[in-house]
C-alpha cells in the first residue's frame, strides 16, 4: 500500500510521520479533529518505520518497540526475583550445591537447584534477557534520537494553524498592532525569560533548554555502559572472588595470580565485660572488637612459572587488614573474612642429649614442612629418613600418617657416631610430649635398636617450640569492571539531572489579520509554562488568566 505522505505545504514526509516535518500540520486525521496533538519526537517518524520492512527491519522494529522493552524489563525483574528466593551458589564460600539445597530446603530446594535458579544471574536465559535489554536500549534510542534531533534542529518558525490550536497551551485573541511589529516587540521579554527567539515576519518561535530532551538518551548510554560492564565482568582477569587461608608467619601463594601474601601477625581482640551492656553480658556471647592481619603483599618477578626454582618476590604493599579496611593494590583487594586460632606446630629446636653424661649437642631446627635431611651434632650425624605428620599405625602395624597436618608429628632418624654401629641406628622422635607417651617412643626405639638408653632428643624450653599461632581467612577480590559500573551509573545520573531539572519549552505564535494565535509545548511542568506564557502576554499588554490558556482537548 502506498500512502501519500506529501503535506499540503509541499513537504515530502517519511512513512510514519505524525506531524508534517516542515509546517507541523497533523497528517493522521483530516483536519476536523480538535484533539491535542501527539508531540512525541515532535511528530517525526521513527527510523524503523518503513513501508515495506524486510527481515532486518523486522528485527530492528522488534527491538525498537518500547512495549517490547517494557516486557523485557518486566521479565528480567521477575527472573531476578527468583534469584532471591534461596542463597545463590556464587555468594557462599564452600559447599557442594548438588546436596546443599536438598538438605537445607528439602524438595523445593532440590527443584530450585535442578532448575538452575541457584545461579540465576549467570544463567543463559537471564544473560539473554540482559542482552536483549541492551539491544533494545541501543535500537530504541537510535530509532528515536536521530529523527528527534533532526526535527528539533530544523524547525520551521511558521507553523500550521492546526499545529498551534491543538497544542495544550493555546491563546487566541486580537492585537491592534501590525503583526511584524508586534512580533519584534515580543523578542525582548522572551529573551529575558531565557528563550532563544527566532522570527519569520509575523511568526515567532521561542525555545529554551532543548538539551533536557537528550536526558533520556544520556541515561540510555549510561545504562549500556553499565550493562556491558556487568556482562563482561567475567572476562578472564577482570574478576576474582575467592577465599583462602593464610597461616601466620608464612608466605602463601595466591592462586591464579602472581602475587604472594605474608600474614605477618594476626590479632584478635574481644570486648571486655565492662564494654558490654548488661543485657548483652547476660547472653554470654563473646564478640570480637578487632581482628587484624598485618599483611605484606609480594609480586613474583622471576621464576614465577618454574616449579623447580624458588620464585623471586618483591614487596609491593604492606597493610593492616581489618574488617572493611582491605589491602588494596591496584584494584587487587584482600578483605578480612574469618580466622582460626588453633595453633599448628611449625618447627622445634631440640638438642641431642647423651643420656649417661648429660652432655648436650647442638640445637638444631627441625621444620615440619621441608625439613633439612642431615644434621651434624658434635660427633654424631643425624640423617632424616622419614617423617609422619599425623602419626598412626595401620592394621598391619606399620607407621603411617593419617593427614598432612602436624597433629602428631614423628621423625625417623638414622643416627651415626662414636660407639654406634657403622651403618647407624634408627631412632624415632616425637616432638610433642603427649605423643611420646601415647605412641610409646621408648618402646618403639627399643625395637629399632635400643638407642633410647644412650641418646635422646629433647626440647629444652617453650622458646624452642615455634607455632603457627593462628590462620587468617581472607577474601581475595579483583573487580576490574567496577570502574565501568560506576562510570555507567555516573552517566545515568547526569542524564537524570538533565531530564528532571530542566524543561524543554517552546512557544510558537503567528499573527494573521490582527489575530494572534499562540501555542506552547513543554515536556513537563505545564503549570509553569502556562504561568510563563501568561506573564509574557501581560508584558505585551494582553491580559489573560493563566487557567484560560489550558486547551480543552482530552489528552492529559
Amino acid at each position: 500500500m502506498i500512502k501519500n505522505t506529501k503535506c499540503e505545504c509541499g513537504h515530502q514526509n517519511r512513512v510514519g510521520t505524525v506531524l508534517c516535518e516542515a509546517c507541523g500540520k497533523p497528517l493522521e486525521d483530516n483536519g476536523d479533529s480538535t484533539e491535542l496533538l501527539e508531540m512525541r519526537y515532535d511528530g517525526a517518524a521513527r527510523r524503523s518505520q518503513r513501508a515495506n520492512p524486510n527481515w532486518i527491519d523486522k528485527v530492528w522494529n522488534f527491538f525498537s518497540s518500547v512495549k517490547v522493552a517494557v516486557y523485557l524489563i518486566i521479565f528480567t525483574l521477575i527472573g531476578a526475583i527468583f534469584g532471591t528466593i534461596f542463597e545463590q551458589e556464587s555468594n557462599f564460600v564452600s559447599f557442594d550445591p548438588s546436596t546443599f539445597y536438598k538438605e537445607k530446603y528439602g524438595t523445593i530446594g532440590d527443584l530450585y537447584y535442578k532448575l538452575g535458579l541457584s545461579h540465576t544471574y549467570e544463567s543463559w536465559w537471564f544473560v539473554t534477557l540482559l542482552v536483549m535489554i541492551g539491544a533494545s536500549l541501543v535500537i530504541c534510542s537510535l530509532d528515536r534520537v536521530l529523527p528527534l534531533y533532526k526535527a528539533l534542529s530544523k524547525q520551521k518558525i511558521k507553523k500550521h494553524m492546526q499545529f498551534l490550536t491543538r497544542q495544550k497551551v493555546v491563546y487566541q485573541g486580537p492585537v491592534s498592532e501590525n503583526g511584524a511589529a508586534w512580533t519584534q516587540r515580543a523578542i525582548a521579554p522572551l529573551k529575558k525569560k531565557g528563550y532563544r527567539v527566532h522570527t519569520d515576519g509575523d511568526a515567532l518561535l521561542a525555545e529554551k533548554q532543548r538539551f533536557s530532551r537528550w536526558g533520556p538518551y544520556v541515561i540510555h548510554i549510561g545504562l549500556i555502559v553499565f550493562l556491558l560492564a556487568v556482562l563482561f565482568r567475567g572476562l578472564p582477569g577482570l574478576h576474582l572472588d575467592k577465599h583462602y587461608w593464610f597461616p601466620e608467619g608464612e608466605i602463601t601463594k595466591i592462586p591464579d595470580t602472581n602475587l604472594y601474601l605474608k600474614n605477618e601477625k594476626f590479632t584478635v581482640e574481644y570486648y571486655t565485660e565492662e564494654e558490654m551492656s548488661k543485657e548483652f553480658r547476660e547472653t554470654g556471647k563473646v564478640v570480637p572488637k578487632l581482628f587484624e592481619t598485618k599483611a605484606v603483599l609480594y609480586k613474583c618477578t622471576a621464576n614465577c612459572d618454574d616449579p623447580s626454582k624458588e620464585p623471586v618476590l618483591t614487596e609491593v604493599k604492606r597493610h593492616a587488614i581489618r574488617v572493611n579496611d582491605p589491602l588494596n593494590y591496584q584494584g587487587f583487594k584482600a578483605y578480612q573474612f574469618d580466622f582460626d586460632l588453633t595453633p599448628k606446630l611449625r618447627s622445634v629446636k631440640p638438642v641431642l642429649v647423651d643420656v649417661k653424661t648429660g652432655k648436650q649437642y647442638g640445637k638444631f631446627q627441625l621444620d615440619m614442612t621441608d625439613p633439612q635431611l642431615k644434621y651434624e651434632l658434635g660427633p654424631y650425624t643425624l640423617e632424616l629418613k622419614n617423617k609422619f605428620m599425623d602419626f598412626s599405625l595401620n592394621e598391619k602395624g606399620q607407621p603411617v600418617s593419617i593427614s598432612n597436618n602436624p597433629n602428631a608429628p614423628a621423625f625417623l632418624f638414622l643416627v651415626k657416631g662414636p660407639d654406634l654401629p657403622q651403618e647407624g641406628v634408627q631412632y624415632i622422635y616425637f616432638p610433642k610430649v603427649i605423643d611420646k607417651e601415647r605412641f610409646q617412643q621408648d618402646a618403639i626405639n627399643e625395637k629399632l635398636g635400643g638407642l633410647q638408653n644412650k641418646l635422646a632428643l629433647d626440647v629444652l624450653g617453650m622458646e624452642d617450640v615455634d607455632f603457627i599461632e593462628s590462620s587468617s581467612y581472607l577474601n581475595i577480590r579483583v573487580d576490574r569492571a567496577m570502574p565501568f559500573v560506576w562510570l555507567g551509573l555516573g552517566i545515568v545520573m547526569i542524564g537524570l539531572v538533565m531530564g528532571f531539572y530542566w524543561h524543554h519549552r517552546r512557544i510558537w505564535l503567528r499573527i494573521d489579520d490582527g489575530v494572534l494565535t499562540l501555542g506552547a509545548h513543554t515536556s513537563k511542568n505545564w503549570f509553569g509554562l502556562r504561568r510563563e506564557v501568561a506573564a509574557f502576554l501581560k508584558t505585551m499588554d494582553v491580559d489573560v488568566d493563566e487557567k484560560d490558556l489550558e486547551n480543552g482537548g482530552n489528552r492529559s
Binding site: 541501543v138 592462586p255 612459572d305 616449579p307
Partner: protein, 175 residues
Amino acid sequence: MGKARRPVQIIILVFIVILGGYAISSAVFGGGTGKPEPGDKPPAVKLLGLDGKVHTLEEYKGQAVVLNFWATWCTYCVNEMPALQAQWEKWRDQGVVVLGINTGEDEMTVRNFTEQLGIDFPILHDFENDAVRNYGVVPMPTTFFVNKKGRIASIREGELDLETLDDQIKQLVNP
C-alpha cells in the same frame, strides 16, 4: 540518508550479535564450577616431578594418560598404588602413561613411600595444590582418564581395583 541507514543498521545488529553471543555463550559454557568434566580438555599442569624435572601434559600428547591424585596419608590412595603400578607395567608399551600427582607433601615423604612400594611411574609434586584446585579434586583418590585425543574420557572418585582400572584403560586404548 535513507540509503546510508542500512549499513548502520547492519553494523549495529552485528555488534549486538557478537557481544551478546559472547556473553550468552560464556554463560552457557563457561559457567558452573569450572570443574573439568568428561569430554573436556584436562586443565594444563606444570609441576615438578620426583625426577627433578618440570613436566607438563604436553609431553604426553598422543598418549592415553591416567592421572591419579594421591597422598601418603590417604589410605585408599595407598591401597590402590600396587594396582596402578601393575597397570603401568602392563600398558606402558601401548602408549599409556600413569601419572601420580602427589598433593602437597615433601619430596622425602614421597620418595620414601614410592621406594618402599617399588613404584616407578612418573610422580609429580603439586606443592601448592594448584592442580588439585584446577581439577576440582575433592575426595582422594580421584583419577582422571585422558584418551589419546587429549580429552577426559572418565573421572573416578575413590579407590580403584585392578579390574576396574584395567577396564578403564582398555577403553582408553581401544575406544
